[in-house]
């Protein structure tokens, strides 16, 4: 890329970073609302958004706790869901290798679905680095502001069940799952995971059936794909 093209590229990257932040903010409102309806205080909801800062894990923790699961089961589910950020980190590592050690410690906190997606969509490293930092920052700000808004709003509502917020938690999980179903093997894994969790629900303490569903991902993901050998 020549230097003349840079201002236009920079403007484009910053625009997408801001757009992604605003969209993700709507998830943040839902997270704040669901956290409070699961029994967390506004401060605790905000602490999760600031310190954990990875949506699916946050939803999982409050979902498991809200359903009466143990803290241990909730934390374990949240960690398993957070493991995909390690893969994003590996994807971003070559890009951020030039940053100082301190900036890399800060960058790690911003390694999430959205910052990775915007970074890897860029054509050159300079735009990719800007995409990562700008999207990470924009999502962080919007996510936390939205969490507070959702949490405060819900605190004012009263009975979460009367407002259907228990169904909203399920809908939120489904909406987080939806874009991942495009992969060929994802649908059987999703149905299998749901079936395992429901079958185990009467037998195991709340929260544990969800963890058990992880086994389905391991069983399906373990064998080498057969399609290539068949020449398909």
């Amino acid at each position: 890329m020549t230097d003349e093209q840079w201002p236009a590229t920079r403007a484009r990257v910053l625009r997408s970073a801001l757009g992604v932040g605003v969209v993700v903010g709507t998830y943040g409102v839902a997270f704040g609302a669901l956290a409070v309806s699961s029994g967390l205080s506004v401060t605790q909801a905000l602490a999760l958004s600031t310190l954990t800062f990875t949506g699916a894990s946050q939803f999982a923790l409050v979902g498991v706790l809200g359903a009466g699961g143990s803290a241990l089961a909730g934390v374990a589910t949240a960690w398993l869901l957070g493991s995909r950020n390690a893969l994003y980190g590996m994807r971003l590592a070559p890009l951020l290798a030039t940053e100082s050690r301190r900036r890399r410690l800060l960058a790690a906190h911003l390694v999430i679905d959205e910052s990775t997606a915007v970074a890897v969509a860029q054509d050159d490293d300079r735009a990719a680095r800007l995409g990562f930092w700008a999207t990470g920052t924009s999502v962080f700000v919007c996510w936390n502001l939205a969490t507070v808004a959702g949490a405060l709003g819900t605190e004012a509502l009263g009975d979460p069940q009367a407002w259907g917020l228990d169904a909203a938690v399920g809908a939120a999980f489904l909406a987080l799952l939806w874009p991942r179903l495009r992969d060929r093997r994802a649908l059987p894994v999703a149905l299998g995971g749901a079936a395992v969790a429901l079958a185990a629900t009467p037998l195991l303490p709340a929260g544990v059936p969800v963890l058990l569903a992880a086994v389905v991902a391991v069983v399906v993901g373990w064998p080498e794909p057969a399609a290539r050998q068949a020449g398909a």
Binding site: N85, A108, A168, T201
Partner: protein
């Protein structure tokens, strides 16, 4: 509650940092990649199912299922996240008000 919040946060950060700091070849075996791509799928599907069909250790079919049905329809129509979630809540609350 606070220990769970702090433990979740510490684990989430260390996973992110581990990715940035690990030489790619260590974790980037195709098998690890496949399993970690499928892990969120299995867990989110299980979380959805339990959230909608479980009450403690019992299974139940109630207003929440109507909310989920709305969510599926809305997602098929590519509705935005907030429409999916708020709509599901409204449908469940409506069914509850009518039936319960």
């Amino acid at each position: 509650m606070w220990p769970a919040i702090l433990a979740t946060s510490l684990g989430a950060y260390l996973l992110k940092l581990a990715g940035l700091s690990t030489p790619a070849e260590v974790l980037e075996s195709p098998r690890v990649r496949r399993i970690s791509a499928l892990l969120p799928v299995a867990l989110l599907a299980a979380l959805t199912a339990v959230q909608i069909f479980a009450v403690g250790q019992h299974l139940a079919l109630d207003a929440r299922a109507a909310g989920l049905a709305f969510a599926v329809g809305a997602l098929l129509l590519r509705a935005p996240f907030l429409v999916v979630v708020v709509g599901a809540a409204a449908v469940a609350a409506g069914v509850r008000a009518l039936v319960g």
